[in-house]
Amino acid sequence: MKTVSLFLLALGGLLFSAVAQNMPPVVVPDSVKANAHSVVLYDSTHMVVNNLQNSKMHCYSRVLLKNKKASDHQEIALYYDDFTEVKSAEVTLYSLLGQKLKSYKLKDFQDVSANTAMATDGRYKLLEVNLQNYPYVLELKYDTEFRGSLFYPSWRPQPSEEQGVQRSVYVLDFNLPSAPRYKAFLADEPQVTEQNGFTQWKWEATNLKPYKWEGRRPRNYSEESLFAPMVLLAPTQFEYKGRQGDFSSWESFGAFFHFLNQDRNTLTEAQLAEVKSTIPENASFESKVRAVYDYMQANTRYVSIQLGIGGWQPFESGYVHEKKYGDCKALTFYTKSLLEALGIPSYYTLINSGAFAQEVIPEFSDDYFDHVILTVPTETDTLWLECTSQTSPFGYMGTFTSDRHAVIIKDGKGELIRTRQYTAQENQQRTTVEVSINNNGSATAKINRQFSGLEVENDGFQWLFDETDEKKKEWFFKNLELESFTVDRFELLPLTDEIVPKGGYEVEITMPLAASASANRIFFDPLKFTGIDYLNVKEKERSKPLEIRYPFTQTDSLLITFEQGNSPENLLKDVEMATDFGIYKRFTQPIEEGKDLVKREFVLHKGVYSPKQYDDFRNFIKDVQKYDRQKMVMVNKS
């Protein structure tokens, strides 16, 4: 093996003088070290689950920090709360010759609150290592103890890009009535041994070469889209803060949450009467649900309070009614309780939130979730209610929770479901522009833009309705991709309160620099109003698939009027492309002298594309971007 190390050569004559060394000099194979900012020399996680009530974790790692880009390793944050205790921690810095440079004990760590919430038990033991003299080795040792058997760290031996790994080991010992479960990717089956009633599973990885990150990969766990080995572990039977549970199936997973939510509905008759009074008699099923949702939106606010078992359990619904606030669990459970009083069944639903949230593995039940919403079955369909927003349209899921797996708690058990998908047909941006261009390049334009479906989230449009006029105006300045302009008039077309919401705006602007005019010519790029420059296809090739998760359609129609005496010298040529990835069409239609209509349509399909297809995908997007940049040229004959 080619293990000649530069570091070893540098050692040279110093071997004799380095007597006080307390770690052997660092030797790393080139293949692991090249193109890396850091190298995990050795990493070991040893988890011991003694019984349902207690587990312990010992972690040890030695990481070579080659340069400033490895600085992530310099911040060590060890989480703890009333369920997790950091028993010891030690950090030591060594030179590559193995000489000790500096060391820190647990008492040197800062103790900080994990305080993004109004109130939380979560805290960190935090240490920031300041040594900037690269390269050096950072050794970290710590022990954590858990009151329970719920938590199993996953094994990700190579979590960062541009990081090499020499050796990484994961050992799990357990002595439990039923074995935990694992799901391994790019990793072999574990070595299994039995001793003193304990079963041991062991995984190991050596000499992992650095990889370079690629964005927009599919969010499901799969060997195709992962860069490095990964093993996920999950409990079967467990105990958490004195409560027993079993995550081995979605049914039992849900049962645990059902158990936590039991007897939390404490709404009194008087409280319910307040709500019922706002609901018209003989209201239809849907208008009842809508009325309850409106009531909840109008009468509560989101406040994050995560204390004790409350990190997992909602506030009592009577408490939410009285205080008029709660977190996602509390507000969802409250809405569910209100619907229940009207005889409408609904399901508390655990989900992973965010536009690029990781997918769950359907056959591997575990707690993947960070959010709770409410599922309401209707006669023909299903409604999903987001209870933490005071403004979200009724039934709208957005990129926050649409098109993914979730677990509903139904009849005391869990059930895996999939939330609604929004199609390219539903996700529309329609733009109509009338623009008059003067010979000096200035222009006035009337822009009407309508969004539907997920497109209402464009540039945060959905959230504009809460804002002041001033902020709305600022939003136009920030998001109309145009040169200097003044807003003469603007009007927001209100967001409709429905599952596929619609909304938009109409704005009239004056632009001193709409076109570039020189001598007797005008150069104008009409598609500046739209453009998809944000779709970045800079990487020339990929090793992992690419996913377009949210499809959309853009249609544009521009009526462009020039001053009299201008005639086209160069109009935009017609384009039509249809590929596996989407559709692009652009037509120019002269209406009369100095007046032209430009029409454009762009559809981006939903899809997952292999690295082989990437080149074609890239060319398609680059072509669209090029066509969108093209200018029309008018010449003034007068």
Binding site: S113, N133, R301, K324, D466, D469, K478, S518, A519
Partner: protein, 670 residues
């Protein structure tokens, strides 16, 4: 709008309207009118507003700890909209370190939500169990709470008392916030023994104020042997108690209908914006004693720094540099640069900003790492050891606020650099940063710094000579069906350094790609990067080509790389000053060679000027035979622009950007 601090300061003491002593903000006295209010009368778009905020500050004497002050705060807010409800989540942070005995304490918290239900005022109290106390980190604690039963229209109110052991800087009182404030009153009562410098800072607002004397009596425990009383060395000598009478100064100040402050882009020192009152203890004088000065003028500040064990005392610890200095040769300036690069390489900066050092000198040198002060005070010591004139310059970094021009305050400064003076030439040197000798990192380019010098210190302009110089030569040739453009770019100063850094960090391939991307639509044919000379200058040369759609009719935009193609100033109006870190001097020289038989239509030559020679733009184009020559030059000398000057700046940029995008049209003559 922000006036100079000094003029605001003077204005404060001229405005002396009599104000009603009776405060409308008394805890618990929420009115039906307030509950019925539909919008803020002077800022109708607000989601929530502060109806009133009241602060009462007075001194107490604690038998163990000595002088303290108490501040009773009451805040009353109105919630108008659903979005405004987030204003009902309250968090009060205060200094309470795990170690050490001096701290702040919060007590007496009460909070109530008021709603109008069926025409009647309904009160909902915050139970103690819903006050969440958290030790945020080793230094700060917080109390947070969510006001209960908040709906659109609610009025919320809370009150608490904060007690502090730190009398040298009293709590800053903010009259302005990110919500509109209808009424903000602050009343302080300061014993006659304490002389505070009180400054009204930030945006200008009108404040009514009234002053009077009130008698106060303090029970003191003090120690006989000691010359003074108070917090300073209180614990020596025999214990005595006595009564201390004071004709205390009470000032009552009110600001009404204060607009919220705005968060704007390109606003460097956001902390300077809100209108507020700051206190700094200048001197203490007890009856029958001479005054004891605590803080004061820059003259004193200068001397205190020079006498400080953690500053002035650290400037002559250069013995660690003896051996190195003996090896030096060349001119004084060359020697100064060699010392700088030696220490820059030797030290690694631990990312801490401060101007004080306990270690500068041999100790810091042996440690090889340290704070800005550890490194730069060591650097100055080494200069002194070598007989080179060098002074420390203290400053506040960009974003940390501007320093007070008249009343110095240690906490306003967070950085120290060296200024080397050789034959009347001045060189800045910051060995903690990755910058060449003579240049400060961009974060230091913030107004003036104070040069600490025995005898007399002085202000130095930190942006002096801070400029970006770029020259772009282009040779364009029209061939049969393509245009070929040869570009050579030379950058000096801040962008030169950036170019070099980017080359080192990205590596050649990625660097090439990034350059190519800034020449949109052009294909890159050849590329070379000039070896780094002095890290200040960066150079590259490249050849690009572009296919011609129609060789008979060619549109060519001659200005591109290096020049603004978009106006960064889009807002119509501006409220805070525009702050460029450095000036610009960018020059583009382009030669276009035409093949036979083409006729060119050229843009017009133009010149633009900012008022007071703040900046110029020149566009000079001509054709001789088959050669078109263009010279474009952009110079910006003025570095800060007031909101009034903003209009000119925006207009200047608009026109410049427009000109940069103009096109030459080449037509083949048939």
């Amino acid at each position: 709008m922000k006036k100079s601090m000094l003029s605001v300061l003077l204005a404060l003491f001229c405005v002396g309207h009599s104000v009603a002593q009776k405060t409308p903000i008394k805890f618990g006295k929420v009115t039906e009118e307030e509950l019925a209010l539909k919008e803020c009368s002077f800022y109708p778009q607000a989601d929530a507003m502060v109806l009133g905020k009241s602060g009462r500050l007075h001194f107490i004497y604690h038998q163990e700890k000595g002088w303290q002050y108490e501040l009773e705060v009451t805040v009353r807010k109105k919630i108008f909209t659903a979005k405004g409800k987030e204003e009902a989540d309250i968090k009060i942070s205060y200094y309470s370190p795990i170690k050490g005995s001096n701290r702040e304490e919060i007590s007496g918290l009460k909070a109530v939500t008021y709603n109008l239900v069926d025409g009647k005022i309904e009160k909902v109290k915050l139970p103690n169990s819903e006050e969440h106390e958290t030790q945020l980190n080793d230094f700060y604690r917080s109390i947070s709470f969510a006001m209960p039963a908040v709906t659109e229209g609610s009025v919320i109110e809370y009150t608490y008392t904060s007690k502090s052991d730190f009398i040298s800087n009293l709590a800053t009182w903010h009259f302005q916030s990110d919500l509109p404030v209808a009424y903000s009153e602050f009343r302080y009562t300061i014993p006659q023994f304490f002389n505070y410098q009180i400054s009204q800072l930030g945006s200008y607002i009108e404040i009514e104020s009234e002053e009077k004397k009130v008698p106060e009596t303090f029970m003191l425990i003090w120690h006989e042997e000691q010359a003074g009383i108070g917090n300073f060395d209180r614990n020596k000598g025999t214990r005595r108690t006595s009564e201390l009478k004071s004709e205390s100064n009470r000032r009552y100040m009110v600001a009404k209908n204060v607009l919220p402050f705005k968060d704007e882009p390109f606003m460097t020192n956001k902390v300077d914006v809100p209108a507020r009152l700051e206190f700094q203890l200048m001197s203490i004088q007890y009856p029958n004693e001479g005054p004891k000065t605590i803080a004061g003028s820059y003259e004193r500040f200068n001397n205190e720094l020079l006498e400080s064990e953690r500053f002035g005392f650290r400037l002559d610890k250069g013995n660690f540099a003896k051996e190195f200095i003996e090896t030096l040769s060349g001119t004084e300036t060359e020697k100064a640069a060699q010392i700088f690069y030696w220490l820059q390489k030797h030290f690694s900066w631990n990312e801490t900003h401060t101007m004080f050092s306990d270690l500068a000198g041999k100790q810091a040198f042996n440690k090889k790492e340290g704070t800005v002060a550890d490194i730069n005070l060591s650097l100055i010591s080494a200069y002194h050891e070598a007989g080179i004139t060098a002074f420390p310059v203290i400053l506040s970094t960009r974003g940390h606020g501007m320093v007070h021009p008249v009343f110095p305050n240690f906490s306003e400064y967070n950085y120290v650099v060296a200024l080397v003076v050789i034959d009347g030439n001045m060189f800045f040197a910051d060995a903690s940063a990755d910058m060449p000798f003579g240049m400060l990192p961009t974060k230091c380019l913030n107004g003036n710094g104070w040069l600490v010098k025995p005898g007399q210190g002085q202000w130095v302009n930190l942006k002096q000579g801070a400029v970006v110089e770029e020259t772009i030569f282009s040779q364009v040739e029209i061939k049969e069906d393509e245009v070929v453009k040869k570009v050579s770019v030379k950058k000096d100063g801040y962008t030169g350094i950036a170019l070099n850094k980017s080359f080192v960090e990205k590596g050649e391939d990625e660097f090439k790609t990034s350059i190519k991307e800034s020449f949109n639509d052009w294909e890159l044919a050849e590329f070379s990067f000039e070896a780094i000379k002095n890290r200040k200058e960066g150079q590259f040369a490249a050849t690009f080509s572009k296919e011609l759609d129609d060789p008979d009719l060619i549109y060519l935009q001659p200005v591109g790389y290096g020049f603004f193609d978009e106006n960064p100033f889009q807002q119509e109006k501006r409220f805070s000053q525009v702050d460029f870190a450095h000036g610009y001097a960018i020059k583009g020289i382009t030669q276009i060679t035409l093949p036979e038989g083409y006729k060119a239509e050229l843009p017009e030559s133009t010149m633009l000027k900012l008022p007071k020679s703040g900046g110029t733009y020149l566009y000079n184009i001509s054709q001789v035979g088959n050669t078109i020559s263009l010279m474009v030059q952009f110079k910006l000398e003025q570095k800060t622009f007031t909101p009034e000057e903003y209009t000119f700046l925006k207009e200047f940029f608009d026109r410049m950007v427009k000109k940069n995008k103009e096109v030459i049209v080449l037509k083949k003559q048939s």
